[in-house]
Amino acid sequence: MSLSRRTLLRTATGLTVAFALPRAARASTKTVVSAEVDAYLAIAPDGAVTIYAGKVDLGTGARIALPQIVADELGADIARIALVEGDTVLTPDQGGTGGSTGIPVGAMTIRQAAATAREKLLGLAAAKLALPADALEAIDGEIRPRAGGAGVTFAALLAGADLDLKLDPKAKLKSPAEFRFIGKPLPRPDVRAKFTATHSYVQDHRVPGMLHGRVIRPPSQGAELLSVGETEIPGARVIRIRNFLGVVAATEWNAIRAARDLKTTWREVQTKASSDTLYTDIRATPVIREERLSGDGTPDFAAGRVLRASYAWPVQSHGSMGPSCAVADIRADGGTIWSASQGTHRMRRLFAGFLGLEPSKLRVIYMDGSGSYGTNGNDDAAADAALLSRAAGAPVRVQWSRQDELGWDPKGPPHILDLTGALDAAGSLTAWESIAYLPMNTPGLPGIPLLAVDAAGLAQAQGRSAGLLAGNADPPYSIPAHRTLIRWLDDTPWRPSNLRAPGKIANVFAVESFTDELAAAAGIDPLQFRLARMKHPRGAEVLRRAGAAMDWQSRPSPQQPDSTAKTLRGRGIAYVHYKQAENFVAMAMQVAVDRSTGGIRVERVICAHDCGLMINPDTVRAQVEGCILQTLSRTLFEETTYTGGRVTSTDWASYPILTMPDVPKLDIILIDRPNERPLGAGEAAAAPVAAALANAVFDATGIRLRRAPLTPARLKAAMA
């Protein structure tokens, strides 16, 4: 890379967030080689620190967590830390932001870089002050003698030199007793600007000479464009590349009008698939391969009391509040894309491929978008903008419509689990089998195939990638005989992607609902039933804490319903050890069911959450709130409907989500474990939500709902 950061930072329009006062980030001629400390950190001649993060803040709070980590580990002055996120020229490729890896993976590398730099500064200061390094400490941008007395600033120690250091994976990390910022609920640096209209989202980004673009998607999946009319909108231009059809115009409204009024004819592909037959369609899909996820026995279901149940989860949309948007300026010899993608480095590689550019000539700059919870339409919108920009010879901004977003964003795939369990005469759980039907990911797929690239007939890797869907399909309990099989399917109705806690919400819905079914069959209190089989003390603790906060009365479910009551109340609990390796979460809920309508009102949610060391408990809390409320929405309301190759749930009336009146009281118990490694908080608490809700509905009504969403119509029909 020949351009220096100094040159780039002068022209950069991307996201540089200063923690306190905006300040010029440090110039450097270093590359972004990920084994070098200065890929992640720079210390300016005046001592100001810049963090370069490959992973980004999606409204999640990394923008404060990273400065907290660096302030502690480097001993920097937290008021003088700036952060650059996700710019492919300035930041190292740390992989995409997703899977709740921002803190446990991305931030921990930066922490190690900070520790490496601190050790170096301590060594320099030891020489300068003629004191042993262990008599010194790094604090507020200085190295000071622990015993007191004058210190020396980072700026003076480096005297303008770069941090020319290899990242030392063994550099000693500070112990929790030494933390001054980690563990504090410091406010996020970006919210003031967001709430006063001074923050630029990618939707707000404008560049000189920019045109507005809109893409006309086919009426149904795979349709072929036969003919296109002319546009009469002033200044608008139609751009067609095979089946990729768009318009550009000088104003946004004219782009919308031109797209809306354009006459087109398409040849559609006939398809019978429909959301009404989704689960029979899944069962008819060929299984490519069966995999044993866990368990080594062949559970014996010949004896004892055997229960069998099937659980189903529908197709769902990411449903980002702001539809996807991107700005691209693609020229013959290079280009720039401004995008809210969760993977700007991945975007650079893939886009350089189909645009036929040298990767080093393409720059992708991360800008905030509306929150994303996995790979939503942002990458597609960027491909739309890139193709339109190249064809138009001008920068182009593409803003998807609401219908584009709910219709064409890659979907959370649907999912079936078949469960079998056996109880012996004493009511003890002796055997368990889970069989999950999941779409198979394509090994090594570099990114999901993009709509525009396929429509334009350009080359890209084909396949499916929807995250780690199998996780938590197995029970988190000690069971004498158990096995979990995954039947990997050859297809799924809509282009899938990773949507928050991929697969795990549906898996835990099934596994933890079925655990309740077994407890009820055994006549045992559901909390006791779980605790009796708990493998981990940290798991037992979250369950106990959630139960205590709920004032859990030990008794079997369901309660004996009062046959005259109009409203039935019940409580339920569910547990997850996320991916059987990460967070421990217990979720308890209280619901009220309206007997006449089947309407479910969630009155109270208690969540006990253990994610190890918490960098910032307030941002962890916000993530847990988000996991709970978004997953309540998915559980109660959301199902992408489709027929004839087109999505029919393309607005908020046909794809309803949680609204303010639906919001329950949340009681979140965060268990801090400063000596444990930090885990992410963006996914785990989503996993047990659906099961806790279904278990509470069962407790209230005696009805077991096994298919999401748990709509009033389904419950009413079951109660009739």
């Binding site: 999640t60 709430f195 923050h199 409204w253 509306s370 908020w652 009146p661």
Partner: protein, 152 residues
């Protein structure tokens, strides 16, 4: 092409108009480069585009710009500044009431209009006022708390 004059945040601004159906949102965002009002659905379903017209919360994605002529339009920019935020903005900051913050414009503008009518709303009143303002990140509880704080 004709030009209309819109009074936005206290200033008369000329806006060229070649289609009478153009919603106010596009005049504000595209012509006047304001960042407060957001595009969320264009269907009046989500509230992201909310502005005040003569003090009332209005969906700017539905109201034709031409119909806003002669009325006072206030956007999030006009409500307060980073240095001197409106009390609802200050409460949102204090409660850290947003994740991505994309819904915040609509939440704040709707709440500010509510408080102008009803300075101390009940929680039920706040919830029902915000019933048609959607949030996808799950910041609802903080948003409710922030509005309650501003209306305390």
């Amino acid at each position: 092409m004709r030009s209309i004059t819109l009074n936005v945040n206290g200033i008369d601004r000329p806006v060229p108009l070649d289609d009478d159906a153009m919603p106010l949102l596009y005049a504000l965002r595209d012509t006047l480069a304001l960042k407060g009002p957001k595009f969320g659905c264009g269907l009046g379903q989500c509230g992201a585009c909310t502005v005040h017209v003569d003090g009332e919360a209005v969906r700017s994605c539905l109201l034709p710009a031409a119909e806003a002529v002669g009325h006072r339009i206030t956007t999030l920019e006009g409500l307060g500044t980073p240095e001197a935020p409106h009390k609802v903005q200050a409460a949102f900051i204090a409660e850290q009431a947003g994740q991505c913050g994309y819904c915040a414009n609509g939440m704040i503008m709707t709440a500010a209009a509510l408080l102008a009518r009803d300075p101390h709303p009940t929680e039920a009143a706040i919830r029902s006022e915000l019933a048609n303002n959607l949030c996808r990140c799950g910041a609802h509880e903080r948003i409710l708390r922030a509005v309650a704080r501003a209306g305390a």
